[in-house]
Amino acid sequence: MKLSGNQLFWIMFCFQVHYALMPALQYGKQDAWLICLLSGAGVIAITYLMAKVSQLSPGDNIADLCRKLLGKWAGKLILLLYIVVWFFLTAVTLREWVDYVYLKLLPHTPIPIVVLPMSLLLIYVNLKGGIFAIGRCSQIIGPLYFLIGFAPVLLMFGIMDWTNLLPIYADTGVHQIVKGAVPTLGNTMGGAMMPLMLTAFMQQPQQATKYAVRAMGLSSLWVLIAALISVLVLGSHLAPQLTLPWVVSIRSVSILNFIQNIDAIAVFVYSFSHFIALSASTFVTSYGLAQLIHKKLWKLMVVCVVGLSFLAVVLTSDVGHITNLYRDIIWVRWVLPVNMLGIPLLLWIMGKMKKGALQ
C-alpha cells in the first residue's frame, strides 16, 4: 500500500493549528491579514522547495538522499538536525493540544492523565498501520476539520463589523508587517517538512509538489480568513489580546439565542486533527531515527519518541504557554534559517550538480 496524493494533502492540512494566530494579530492588529498574506506566500515558497528536494530521487527519503549526496557522516548529521526538529514539533503540538484541552474541557484533570490516552493512540496507530493508516484517517478527519473551520464563518456574518478593518495598512507600515510575518511563518508551517520523509512512501512521488503546495496554500488561506474574522467579530483591539482569538470568535456566535456555544463541537474536531498531525510527526521522527540507528528498531523508536514527548509535556506542564517561547527562540532563530531554508537549498543545489549519484 502506498500513500496517495490526496492523503498527503490532508495530512499536511491537518498540521495547521489555525486557532492560535497570535503573532499576526499582535503585530498587525486590523492588518493581520496583510501579514498572513505575506507569510502565506513564504509558506508556499518553502513548501515548494521542500517538495522539490524530496523528489530529487524518487523512492528515497531524506535519509537516503543525504547519504547519497553528502556521504555517510555528513548525511547522518543533517538527518539528526531534522529529527530533533521533528521531535520538537511532536512535543510542542502535543503540548499545545494538552493546553487547549486543559483550558476548555478538563481543568481539574492531571496533565499525565490527559496526555496518556493520546500517547497510547499515537503508538497504536503507528505500530498497527504506520503512515498508511494515518493517511486513511486523514482522509476523513481532514475534510471534517476543514468544515468545522468554515461552518462558523457563515454563522458569524451577522456579528461582523466590516469597518473594523479600517484603516488598512496606515497603522502598521511595511516594517511591522515584515516583522510580524516571520513569527507567523514559524507558526504556520509545521507541515512543510513532511514531504521530505513522506514523498518516498507515495504511489506517484512526482505528484507530491502539487498536493503539498495545495495543502499549505489552503491552510495559509485558512489562517488568513481566521485572522480576518477574529478582527471582524471581536475588534482589532480585543483579538490580539486573546490566547485563542479564533475560538472566542466562535464562542461569540449566538443566533436567535439558540445556536450558541458551538465551540464545543470544534474542540472534538480540533483534537482529531491534532491526532493526525501528531501521529504523522511521530512517524516521521521515529522512522528517521530508525534510519539513523538501525532500520529494524523502528517500532522501538516509535515507543521511545512518544514516551519522550510524553515526558516533555508532563515535565514542562507548569510553565504555561510554552508555544510562543518555542516559536520565537527555537523556530524563528534556528529552524527557519537552517532546516527550512539552508539545508533544503543546499540539498537541492547538490542534487542538481550530482545527478549521477542519485541514479
Binding site: L234, R251, S254
Partner: protein, 387 residues
C-alpha cells in the same frame, strides 16, 4: 477467515460496544447540574478601601419547578473581597453548591462604582475560561447593584432576565451590549463606550401595579476614557444617541408632524459617518438611514396621496435632524465624551492626521462641527391611507 474467527471478532465487537455503553452513560465526573449553583447575574459595588462588594443572583431550582410557587425563585448572596475572583472564592464558602459562571447572563454595576471608574474590574471578564463571554453589562442607577438583584423580575423569574430582555426587545444590537464589546470600545482611541441603565423600584407589588403609573424610563450612561460614567441620557435623547453611535437596529419613533403625532416603526437603522479635515477644523457628516412602516397617523394627511406621504417623511427627517443636533451638542458641551466614535471615523479615514489628534481627542471632540442628515424612507403606510 474461518467461521470461528468471524464469530470471535463479532463477539469481541459486541463486548466492546457493551462496555463502552456502560461507561459513557450520564455524567460520572460529579459536575452535574445538581452540584452547581446556577449563577444568573452578578452585581458589582465598591466597598471601603478599594474593595469590591460582589453580589450574585442564584437560581433556586426547587422554586422554579412545579409547585414551588411559595418560594422566591432566586437567592441573592453578597460578599466583600479584593477583586472579583476573590469575591467568588468567598462566596463559595457561603454556598452549598459549586459556583458556575457559564450561566452568568449579565453583570450589573452600581452607580457609584461606575462613576469612579471600573477599568480595574474589566480583566476578569473574558479571562476566566468558564465564564459566559456573551454576558451583558448594565449600570444600576440610583441604587446598588445588590438592590437591583434582590428585586423581583416581574414576568420573568429574575430581574437579570428582565433587564436583558428589555434591551433586546428595545431594538439594541445584541452584540453591542456585551462586555466584550464594551472592552473593545474602551480600548479604541477615538470612541468611548456607553452602557444600558436599569433602575430599581420599577417592579411593584403585582396587585397595585395598575394603580399609580410609573413613567417608563429609558436611559443610557456615557463613559469616558477611564471607564468612568460621566453622564446620562434619557428617553428620546438616549434613543438618538444610540442611533448616532450605531447601536440601534429597530425602533418605533414618534414625532409631531403638522401638530399631530405620527409613529413610524423603523428597521434597518444605520448610521454612516463621513469625516473631513481642514487644517485644525474637523467636520463630520452623520447620515442616518432607516426604513419603516407608518404604524399610527393622527394627522389629517391622506397617506394614499404620494405628496402627503412625502410630507410626513420630510417632516420626520427634519425633526430627527433637529433632535440629533441638540443631543450631539449637549454631549459635546456637557459630557465631552465621544460615544459616537467620531474620532474612530477619523482614525479610519484619515489615519495620518489622526496620529496627531488622538493624544488630545477629548479636548478636540467638543469643537467638532457635525452636520446631521436624516434619510428615513417610509416603506409602507400601514393598512389604511386616510386617518
Amino acid at each position: 477467515m474461518s467461521k470461528f474467527k468471524r464469530v470471535r471478532s463479532q463477539l469481541s465487537a459486541a463486548i466492546m460496544i457493551a462496555v463502552l455503553m456502560g461507561i459513557t452513560t450520564g455524567c460520572w465526573d460529579m459536575v452535574e447540574p445538581n452540584e452547581r449553583s446556577i449563577w444568573v447575574g452578578s452585581g458589582v459595588d465598591s466597598a471601603a478601601g478599594r474593595k469590591i462588594d460582589l453580589s450574585v443572583q442564584i437560581a433556586v431550582p426547587r422554586a422554579l419547578g412545579e409547585g414551588g410557587g411559595q418560594q422566591k425563585p432566586y437567592l441573592v448572596k453578597s460578599t466583600v473581597g479584593r477583586n472579583l475572583e476573590d469575591c467568588f472564592q468567598r462566596l463559595q464558602a457561603q454556598l452549598s453548591r459549586q459556583i458556575f459562571l457559564g450561566h452568568r447572563h449579565a453583570v450589573f454595576v452600581g452607580q457609584k462604582t461606575a462613576e469612579t471608574g471600573m477599568r480595574r474590574l474589566m480583566d476578569e471578564f473574558g479571562r476566566n475560561p468558564r465564564s459566559n463571554i456573551r454576558a451583558k453589562l448594565f449600570l444600576v442607577k440610583g441604587a446598588t447593584a445588590k438592590a437591583f438583584l434582590a428585586e423581583s423580575g416581574g414576568i420573568e423569574y429574575f430581574s437579570t432576565e428582565k433587564a436583558i430582555r428589555q434591551t433586546r426587545f428595545n431594538g439594541i444590537n445584541d452584540k453591542m451590549t456585551t462586555m466584550i464589546f464594551f472592552k473593545e470600545v474602551l480600548q479604541r482611541d477615538g470612541m468611548r463606550p456607553l452602557m444600558q441603565v436599569v433602575e430599581t423600584g420599577t417592579e411593584k407589588d403585582p396587585k397595585s401595579e395598575a394603580e399609580g403609573s410609573e413613567p417608563s424610563h429609558r436611559e443610557i450612561a456615557l463613559f469616558n476614557n477611564s471607564a468612568a460614567a460621566v453622564g446620562y441620557l434619557q428617553e428620546e435623547e438616549a434613543i438618538a444617541a444610540l442611533w448616532a453611535a450605531g447601536y440601534l437596529e429597530d425602533q418605533m419613533v414618534t414625532e409631531t408632524v403638522y401638530g399631530q403625532e405620527v409613529t413610524i416603526d423603523l428597521h434597518h437603522m444605520k448610521r454612516t459617518l463621513k469625516s473631513k479635515i481642514e487644517g485644525e477644523n474637523v467636520e463630520l457628516k452623520l447620515i442616518l438611514r432607516a426604513q419603516g412602516i407608518v404604524d399610527e397617523n393622527d394627522t389629517d394627511l391622506n397617506l394614499f396621496i404620494y405628496s402627503d406621504m412625502k410630507k410626513v417623511e420630510q417632516a420626520f427627517n427634519q425633526k430627527i435632524e433637529q433632535q440629533m443636533n441638540t443631543m450631539i451638542k449637549m454631549v459635546q458641551q456637557k459630557y465631552k465624551t465621544d460615544i459616537f466614535g467620531f474620532g474612530e471615523d477619523i482614525h479610519r479615514r484619515h489615519p495620518k492626521q489622526w496620529s496627531q489628534m488622538k493624544g488630545n481627542w477629548d479636548e478636540r471632540f467638543p469643537k467638532v462641527k457635525v452636520t446631521v442628515i436624516s434619510n428615513i424612507v417610509i416603506r409602507h403606510i400601514g393598512e389604511r391611507g386616510p386617518k
